[in-house]
Assembly symmetry: C2
Homo-oligomer: 242 residues x 2
């Protein structure tokens, strides 16, 4: 019996995976490991790192500059790969830190490449997941480069909501969210004080409330309009490959 | 006889491709097409788009916001895929415009997926190319989010130089570059006036001169230090898979 894990749900959005393909996917999951919040799993510049699939909890990938500034590239939620990109590069171009305590399963690169040989459709599904991850980083570039502070916050929280909904962890009412204002600041290129001000502004406008670890969409449609949020880049319309 | 195209040189940096693998790669190249500068090949929101391999000339991928602002995500040079990411998504999340007149070869998604089935190592090489592309978008996010205008310009021009060197189109002296100040402005989140000022500042500091379609590294080592340019994210150290 194959578990309906967040990863299976996520890849299933792109490729309708057969039972043999699901078995190959399940065989990738090796050692189950846990990591505590705030301690890096992967360090920028590290070689021979492992890749992981996140089973529960949240993580973030980030880059540190020599002067100590930090840019958070993305957050990872259950079903996401951690370090998939770096596994193919000689050294990791970023660090990964658990936002909350997390459970992961380790995957070995050699196993992944073998799996591609056995089931090329799985390779396509993984390439899709990588494409979607990149599409999100592109949106974050647009966030930081071209959207004002309130729009970028609204866009970012909507994107997280759509990703969480795909793996059954959120809906149009909202979602549980372990992020602090410091995480949001480092992701959006704002100061923590500015984050606080922007969140108040969005709450007072009746669109969204982020309080006690929960993001509540008070007026989802208005928020979508305000953020010019077009979720098509998330590509959640159902499998292209059947 | 298999041509030593820019794409072969580039993928060869990651996977030592065998002759049969090179044949499969060559068979992907279908129709040769040309596009003139400034006319989009791919439109944001388009479905059923083709993917291309750039044979000569430069292109750029960008997103337009509803208010008309433009964020250039990346530039593509010979050997790069155009629209690979969007081919796997239902609709393209960005537009692609030729910067100069370009020559491309069209590839069909179905052929690409077949090729993965025949030669899984090729799938890995393409996944590597996608990983490297994403690593570059991540750097652009850091550029815009955390580097000041002069550092981000220096970092960006160094990155282009390293990419061009990999496909034999540049070296530590510099490279031919068809970009205008408007392209640089839209890529780096600056105004054209600001771009002009920053380029003058870098030239007067004796580090780099961008004039008459040529970027000259006047003092490569000093520029690398100034930009904190660590090229390891470009992953040009030679094949991991042999």
């Amino acid at each position: 019996m194959i578990e309906n894990t967040p990863l299976v749900r996520k890849l299933g959005a792109f490729v309708a995976l057969s039972d043999p393909e699901l078995s190959v996917l399940a065989s990738l999951h090796k050692r189950r490991r846990t990591f505590v919040a705030g301690r890096d799993l992967v360090h920028q510049g590290q070689s021979y790192q492992a890749a992981y699939i996140l089973a529960s909890g949240w993580a973030c990938s980030y880059k540190l500059l020599e002067d100590g500034q930090r840019q958070i590239v993305d957050f990872q939620i259950p079903g996401d790969f951690l370090g998939l990109r770096s596994v193919l590069l000689h050294v990791s171009d970023h660090s990964i830190e658990p936002v909350s305590d997390i459970e992961v399963t380790e995957i070995h690169v050699a196993d992944l490449l073998d799996a591609f040989a056995q089931t090329p459709r799985l390779a396509t599904a993984v390439l899709w997941a990588a494409s979607r991850d990149e599409a999100m980083v592109v949106e974050h570039l647009v966030d930081v480069g071209r959207r004002d502070a309130a729009e970028r916050m609204a866009h970012f929280l909507l994107e997280l909501g759509a990703r969480l909904a795909l793996v059954g962890l959120g809906n149009k009412d909202g979602y549980a969210c372990p992020l602090t204002q410091y995480h949001l600041a480092d992701a959006l290129g704002l100061s923590a004080v500015h984050v606080n001000r922007v969140l108040r502004q969005l709450r007072e406008a009746g669109m969204i409330t982020f309080r006690d670890g929960f993001v509540a969409f008070d007026d989802y449609d208005q928020l979508v309009k305000f953020a010019q949020f077009d979720p098509s880049y998330m590509d959640h319309k159902g499998p292209i490959l059947r």
